[in-house]
């Protein structure tokens, strides 16, 4: 069989997810090797697998590095101030109920000034997907400790508090899909994005993303590849773990995996 021959010129070049992106805004503002870009790419791949067009989506994000996501998107999206993200989502859900609302949150939006966001999302019974990008640090103001800082790290005298257990918190509030991944497991992460589209109600996916500014005040900034390798060595996949055991402690490995899915029945 003779196939048609087509010459590929430079004008015909396009990335597989370019239907979602504005190509003028590149390069992006994130550091080389940041985990946010990987999460966004795999989210679009999951949308393509579920055949969700860009007209069916609405993406909201907050402040900081995560708030730069709407800059590169070519469909309806917005960046809100801290603490008003779920309120915006409820307004959009009232006016266009067909749209799938996806929220990208960072630490400040999720735990500091937006501490009520998860409770509000459950209380108003939204069909919403929350992608929580957790990089253990305030990336733009470095020396402060905050609720997700690991024990004895990152502030002037060492943080003496133990970080929150986010999956357990989401489960106790009545979420219907809970998972946690690192960008190293990008294929797994994409698969749980796909599965969360078919779940009704609140679903939360925590992405532990490598931040290059972490430990910058000690003078040893790792390469992007070394940073990814660090998270690869210190994480461990376990499915259907009891949610009380998912604390992030210093001496233990980070447990990643899928922990709760109301569509699927399991024994353990």
């Amino acid at each position: 069989m003779i196939a048609k021959q087509k010459s590929i010129s430079k004008e015909n070049l396009f990335h597989p997810t370019d239907s979602f992106l504005v190509s003028d805004t590149f390069p992006t503002v994130w550091c080389p090797g940041c985990g946010i870009g990987t999460a966004v790419y795999n989210f679009f791949e999951a949308c393509k697998e579920k055949s969700i067009d860009r007209e069916d989506l609405y993406i909201i994000s907050g402040v900081g590095c995560t708030g730069k996501i709407p800059e590169i998107l070519c469909f309806s999206s917005s960046a809100e101030t801290d603490g008003h993200i779920i309120e915006k989502a409820t307004r959009i859900d009232e006016n266009n109920p067909d749209k799938k609302i996806v929220v990208f949150l960072n630490n400040a939006d999720f735990l500091i000034s937006g501490g009520e966001e998860l409770k509000k999302a459950k209380k108003r019974e939204l069909n919403i997907l929350i992608i929580y990008i957790n990089n253990f640090i305030y990336a733009l103001s470095k020396d402060r400790a905050f609720p997700m800082t690991p024990y004895m790290r990152q502030s002037t005298h060492g943080n003496f508090e133990i970080p929150y257990n986010i999956p357990y918190m989401a489960c106790s509030l009545g979420a219907s899909f809970v998972a946690r991944w690192t960008p190293i497991r990008a294929g797994w992460m994409k698969q749980s994005f796909v599965e969360s589209f078919s779940v009704k109600g609140l679903s939360l996916i925590e992405v532990i993303s490598p931040c290059l500014i972490y430990d910058a005040n000690t003078g040893r900034i790792l390469d992007p590849v070394e940073r990814m390798a660090f998270y690869n060595d210190n994480s461990e996949i376990q499915f259907w773990v009891p949610l009380e055991n998912l604390d992030i402690r210093r001496q233990k490995k980070i447990i990643i995996g899928k922990f709760l899915d109301k569509n699927r029945t399991h024994d353990s």
Binding site: Q5, P32, G37, P224
Partner: protein, 80 residues
């Protein structure tokens, strides 16, 4: 995955790449390498050295945080 007679093309968009080197580290068959020359922003871009080994697994495309690299099969060689 590729057929015997199929050829694979690897594209890198120069304006988007930041030279983090994740695609080079991720590639299982050592197709890519960082170049010695730099682009207009001072980053070293990945170059495909031996495209014969490429399996079209798509790992470099999946891990790229800057939407810069992707892999396709050459259009003349698509079966059927």
């Amino acid at each position: 995955m590729t057929h015997k007679n199929q050829q694979v093309e690897i594209f890198v968009l120069e304006e988007r790449c930041k030279g983090c080197g994740i695609c080079v580290a991720v590639c299982q068959t050592e197709v890519l390498e960082l170049s010695k020359e730099k682009n207009s922003q001072g980053y070293r871009l990945p170059i495909a050295i031996n495209t014969d080994r490429c399996l079209n697994c798509g790992l470099c495309e999946m891990f790229c945080p800057d939407f810069a690299i992707w892999v396709t099969i050459k259009k003349e060689d698509v079966l059927g």
